[in-house]
Symmetry: C2
Subunit: 245 residues, 2 copies
């Protein structure tokens, strides 16, 4: 806890404004009129880089802030009664962390870094003040929540309807799509999460995930070497995965 406190610098260093950020096009301020973006930026704190494995928010903790990933990636999960992990998803740069906290004022899942993770932090107090006078931000926060809800439902549908290969294909196609939006290669990437994490996310076992990747490889859809993925036939994956928008 004290580690996390230390990790946060008070206020935004002038050199790293949102306007200069690589994520400009997809991050929170992207859809805001410029004077709202400026007001938001003044409230944003920039966190120091976290090392892999470090937890950014814990379930049950009061919701002090909304976070946005600046670089790296993170895993959202909750711990079941049996001590197992339910992996809710993976967070990429420009994506928000902590939205479910609005439900009760406390976070309901854990988020920990998979790679070195840097992030921005918007204190809830400030956010609420800003919401009072920035209609664009109000709209944007609602949009973000609606989107998260919609995605969660869509993914649940996918889980309910697809077999193992379909789920893994969907996972890869979704990841590929999200990477592309960030200007990264949709065909060459490195998975930051383990097979076990993927499995727990998709409701499968790690062996089944491994086998699914194996068959995709054999069919010539992928090249797989440990966590490095090359997508050779994106269409085949997308078709099996049930269509990513």
């Amino acid at each position: 806890m004290s580690i996390r406190r230390q990790a946060i610098e008070a206020g935004a260093p002038p050199g790293v404004s949102c306007r200069e950020c690589a994520l400009q096009a997809i991050c929170l301020p992207a859809h805001l009129p410029s004077e709202e973006a400026r007001a938001l930026e003044a409230a944003v704190q920039r966190g120091r880089q976290l090392r892999p494995g470090v937890t950014l928010v814990r379930a049950g903790e009061p919701m002090g802030a909304l976070f946005v990933v600046r670089s790296g990636s993170a895993k959202r999960y909750s711990v079941t009664l049996g001590g197992g992990e339910q992996v809710h998803g993976f967070v990429l740069p420009g994506e928000a962390i902590g939205l479910e906290g609005f439900a009760s004022g406390r976070y309901t899942c854990e988020v920990s870094a998979l790679e070195p993770l840097s992030y921005c932090r918007v204190p809830i107090r400030k956010l609420e003040q800003l919401l009072e006078r920035l209609p664009g931000l109000r709209h944007e926060i609602l949009r973000l929540l609606g989107q998260a809800l919609d995605e969660s439902q869509r993914l649940r549908g996918e889980l309910a309807q697809s077999d193992a290969r379909g789920r893994v294909a969907h996972f890869l196609a979704d990841l590929s799509h999200r990477l592309a939006r960030r200007g990264l290669s949709p065909t060459e990437f490195r998975l930051s999460m383990s097979r076990a994490d993927i499995a727990r996310h998709l409701g499968l076992t790690l062996e089944t995930v491994s086998r699914a990747l194996g068959t995709f490889k054999r069919e010539g859809w992928l090249r797989v070497r440990a966590r490095d993925i090359s997508v050779l036939q994106p269409d085949a994956l997308a078709a099996l995965g049930g269509g990513i928008a």
Copy 2:
């Protein structure tokens, strides 16, 4: 479409104010200071009762309003490429419809009545105006969205981790819990949805749902007669279902 338009009366008839509504304790205005509740109420339109099978909102349609069920129940679903239904969930009195619309300004799933359905309607335009000046309402809408998100994730975890009996147990325990919050019996109720709907919601086949109910019956946890359910051992269900808060 014209049917739906006709079904909506302009303004709230004086006799059915929120203060007199049976759902007072759990509905949207429940957590609002009274002057905010009054302002909200002035914006609420009351829809005429819809007959079972009638669709309240359609996927792709612009989000004109947020709805709240007053009585009856509804099914939220989307239609897949193959023409099948993915059932996202069931809506009970006091619960909101259309929240995912905030994502893009359009509804992303269909909602249709399972029983005779009456509802309230909050036009989005009015809602946005109110959000500008009612901090309590702002908070409440965020809470609602956060809650929906959290529930969706939790349910997905349940799907990913439980077997067929666990899912059906969870479904019943959840329903029981939600009915209780509405002042209805948590142990004696009538399912408004078909086995097929339950199955599509849980990612199972209707045969498997039927068999799960059969085993619960045999174990003495339930009495089942068609759609009438008596819960004899709520604890057993809750335990299998993985714990409902």
